[in-house]
């Protein structure tokens, strides 16, 4: 079974803090993604990566950055956390190819106070 593991289920951070959300997958997938999930808005793509050291902006990248130093790990960074970044963050990975599905982690619920 594919496993996508997010380091924390729940996080509480203060406004202005630098926050790191970590995601690790164990299936050697090239593609990894970060989404945020908000009630009534569904999942929105923040950043994605097709390979090590490679990153692409998604639909809502403002206030976020990412790091992919190793193939299995994709980190989401909130440079200076704000209350409007309180959300559920979901990491996903997908193997290469057209007819492949994405696998999701359990999510990290981040609260910024």
């Amino acid at each position: 079974d594919v496993k996508v593991t997010q380091s924390s289920r729940y996080l509480v951070k203060r406004t202005g803090e630098k926050v790191f959300l970590e995601c690790v997958q164990d299936m050697d997938h090239e593609n990894m993604f970060w989404y945020r999930q908000d009630p009534g808005l569904g999942l929105r793509l923040i950043y994605f990566s097709y390979d090590v050291k490679m990153k692409e902006k998604g639909d809502i990248p403002e206030g976020y950055s990412v790091s992919r130093e190793k193939k299995e790990r994709f980190s989401l960074i909130l440079e200076s956390a704000s209350t409007n970044q309180t959300s559920m963050y979901l990491c996903a990975s997908r193997p290469p190819g057209l007819n492949t599905e994405a696998f999701f982690g359990q999510g990290t619920r981040l609260t910024v106070v």
């Binding site: 569904g42 999942l43 994605f48 999701f104």
Partner: protein
């Protein structure tokens, strides 16, 4: 712009009722469509997927979906729901860059 829309925000059904959740997409080219489900407190799981071929796709737990190209639709169906189907359902499509674009989700509540 590529988009996926879901018609219903919240659907409430009694057990044994039939289910149909609407999903429309608006992009051309190769169409890859998915339905994911999120049970309370759990991670997103794939219910079914359409890549090509037979437009009627069968998934897990008795769910199916029909891809109708002329209507740009990919509706999810189940003939008889159970209380355990209570969850949030997301329709998604693959964009040309390879990432998924999601609809806003439909919460399904099944009354026992």
């Amino acid at each position: 712009a590529q988009s996926v829309s879901q018609h219903n925000h919240h659907v409430i059904l009694s057990e044994a009722a039939s289910l149909e959740l609407g999903c429309n997409y608006s992009y051309g080219g190769t169409v890859n469509l998915f339905w994911y489900v999120q049970y309370p407190g759990q991670h997103l799981q794939l219910l079914l997927k359409y890549f090509s071929g037979d437009p009627l796709v069968k998934g897990i737990k008795g769910f199916e979906a029909e891809f109708i190209k002329s209507k740009f639709s990919f509706n999810l169906r189940k003939p008889s729901v159970q209380w355990s189907d209570t969850a949030e359902y997301f329709c998604a499509g693959r964009r040309s860059q390879g990432n998924l674009i999601f609809g806003k989700g439909t919460k399904l509540s099944v009354k026992p």
